[in-house]
């Protein structure tokens, strides 16, 4: 079910763009922000709201990796594992998350707080390894920094 916010705001988002189609990615981001992930039901509702075929929206949704089709944790951790991050210890970061949060990739921790996925190049290779938690980059990461960060997020 689409949230109240998007139902109220979708018009103003569409209006920011010259053509309605260009607003699609922005609208999907808004739905994800409100609902945590985007369900098939959300796509149907959006389809009638903006008068765009369901298949068109679904094709875009599934093409781009930043849209989640399954529930994620309150804090969704994306760990870069491309070459530069790999050379500077991405594997340790991934192992730390698995052991410490007791989750595998795409799983949500029992308390609903954390989930993680590996990603390819976040474009901050000079300060690798890099992880992204929700909208924020954390650079030059190591296990100690990540432990502190996770403890902090747990308390929030």
């Amino acid at each position: 079910m689409l949230g109240e916010k998007i139902k109220k705001n979708y018009k103003s988002i569409v209006e920011k763009f010259e053509k309605k189609e260009s607003a699609l990615i922005s609208l999907l981001y808004e739905i994800q922000k409100e609902n945590n992930y985007i369900s098939d039901g959300d796509i149907s509702e959006l389809s009638s709201l903006i008068d765009m075929p369901y298949s068109r929206i679904k094709s875009v949704l599934t093409f781009y990796t930043m849209f989640n089709q399954k529930k994620t944790g309150k804090y969704h951790i994306q760990v870069c594992r491309n070459l530069s991050c790999s050379m500077s210890g991405a594997r340790n970061i991934i192992n730390f998350i698995k052991e410490n949060l007791k989750i595998n990739e795409h799983e949500v921790s029992d308390d609903g707080l954390f989930s993680y996925t590996t990603v390819e190049c976040l474009g901050a290779c000079g300060s690798s390894p890099v992880v992204m938690i929700n909208d924020t980059y954390y650079e030059n990461m190591d296990e100690k920094k990540l432990r502190e960060l996770i403890d902090k997020l747990r308390k929030e």
Binding site: I25, S59, Q78, S84, V119, E120, G123, G126, Y137
Partner: protein, 415 residues
């Protein structure tokens, strides 16, 4: 010599105090054609990777009254590349001013900045920068009472490397899957919403205001004859000072490594360098020590300047594993519309995982090379080539490491 990153000019006040927006004032007193000529004279080449002459690209736009677009490619996603992010952090107004000048030169009233989805903070910075420029009358209707209108819309990507390819980027702005278009028609005649469109990289556009102020001729004298100007290199890997450096083109790699990156980290020996982003052919340490960082010298050495995303590889990194990581990336990012790329990147990735775990025979290394050779130049966009080039160069130059994996005797992986 630094131009774009000489000073931190984050807000509009500092930018203007340091001569910002004088370039658009100057451009507006010139004819659009003479603005294009000035950029041509500068010999500025596209900084996104392909190195196409910017002035020439602008001159392809038809000179009629139809709707045209300027698009800034800020989808920085090539592994090893993080220079545009630095420009957005330190000198965002130069990008906006460059776009306005490009718009004036080609007769466009609308611009788009396409920024990769992960750059949430950077997208906010750009929105703020556009707001400041509008408030001060540099963007919007009737800019500086010249009668010229120009506005910019920001579109965020959502995690697809392929959208850095210019026609895939246009598809994405049009709210579709980011799949590259067959060319021709080229964007200069049929681009965004089927209108003539110029697509330039962030770094290219950021250089434009400085070219307008100093004059194309003077800019062309910086660096080397066919590689004029400064270039940003983003460096990662086991060096003492990784980061973004703006240097005059033509500097020797040896000088760059020793005096800018402050050498290799203790105990690590240089083994290989990927000079211009993960898609360019790798060069060995010996080759790297002989090259200069400019388009010609690197092309003579069999590689490319590319995006300037330099990945330094030390002797503690297995080359088979490094290539495996790159293959996984390109396989994941292939949009899937061309068979040689969709199947080829997958096949290479599978072969490399098997070689890595010692499950292959020697002939599989030849097969790996052959697949890469067969993918090259046979697809709509260069993504297939972007994996072919690393595969062929890694196999050619580091064959012994592949052989060791077949024998099960790689010392690095066993550590």
């Amino acid at each position: 010599m630094k131009i774009i990153l000489e000073k931190e000019l984050f807000d509009i006040k500092t930018y203007i105090t340091n001569g910002g927006y004088n370039a658009i004032k100057k451009a507006l007193t010139m004819t659009p054609q003479s603005v294009i000529d000035e950029v041509k004279k500068s010999n500025l080449r596209g900084r996104g990777g392909a190195g196409f002459p910017t002035g020439l690209k602008w001159s392809f736009i038809p000179k009629d009254k139809s709707q045209k677009y300027v698009v800034c490619n800020s989808d920085e996603s090539e592994p090893g590349t993080f220079k545009d992010r630095e420009i957005i952090h330190k000198n965002p107004h130069s990008i906006i001013e460059g776009m306005i000048i490009a718009g004036y030169a080609i007769g466009a009233t609308k611009g788009y900045i396409y920024i990769r989805g992960e750059f949430v903070r950077e997208a906010r910075i750009i929105e703020k920068t556009i707001y400041e420029a509008k408030e001060s009358g540099y963007l919007g209707k009737n800019i500086l009472n010249s009668g010229f209108d120009f506005d910019i819309t920001v579109v965020r990507g959502a995690g697809a490397y392929i959208c850095g390819e210019e026609t895939a980027l246009l598809e994405s702005i049009e709210g579709k899957q980011g799949k590259p278009r067959i060319k021709p028609p080229f964007p200069a005649t049929k681009g965004l919403f089927s209108s003539p469109t110029v697509i330039n990289n962030v770094e290219t556009l950021a250089a434009v205001p400085y070219i307008m102020i100093m004059g194309g001729e003077k800019y062309s004298r910086i660096g080397k004859e066919k590689s004029s100007g400064t270039k940003l290199f983003s460096v990662s890997g086991p060096v003492n000072k990784p980061g973004v450096y703006e240097i005059e083109l033509g500097l020797s790699f040896k000088d760059f490594l020793e005096n800018y990156l402050m050498g290799m980290k203790d105990g690590v020996k240089l083994k290989a360098v990927i000079v211009g982003g993960s898609s360019v052919p790798v060069i060995t340490a010996d080759e790297a020590m002989k090259v200069n960082l400019d388009y010609e010298s690197l092309s003579q050495a069999g590689t490319m300047l590319g995006s300037g995303g330099m990945i330094i590889i030390g002797d503690n990194q297995c080359m088979v594993e490094a290539l495996y990581i790159l293959a996984r990336f390109y396989h994941h990012e292939s949009c899937g519309q061309c068979t040689p790329c969709r199947e080829g990147t997958g096949w290479i990735y599978k072969l490399l995982s098997e070689i890595l775990s010692g499950k292959c025979k020697e002939k599989d290394i030849d097969l790996l090379y052959e697949i890469a050779e067969n993918m090259m130049g046979r697809t709509i966009c260069p993504l297939a080539d972007a994996l072919s080039m690393p595969v062929m160069s890694f196999v050619k130059k580091f064959r012994n490491e592949f052989d060791k994996h077949i024998e099960g005797s790689c010392e690095i992986c066993q550590r």
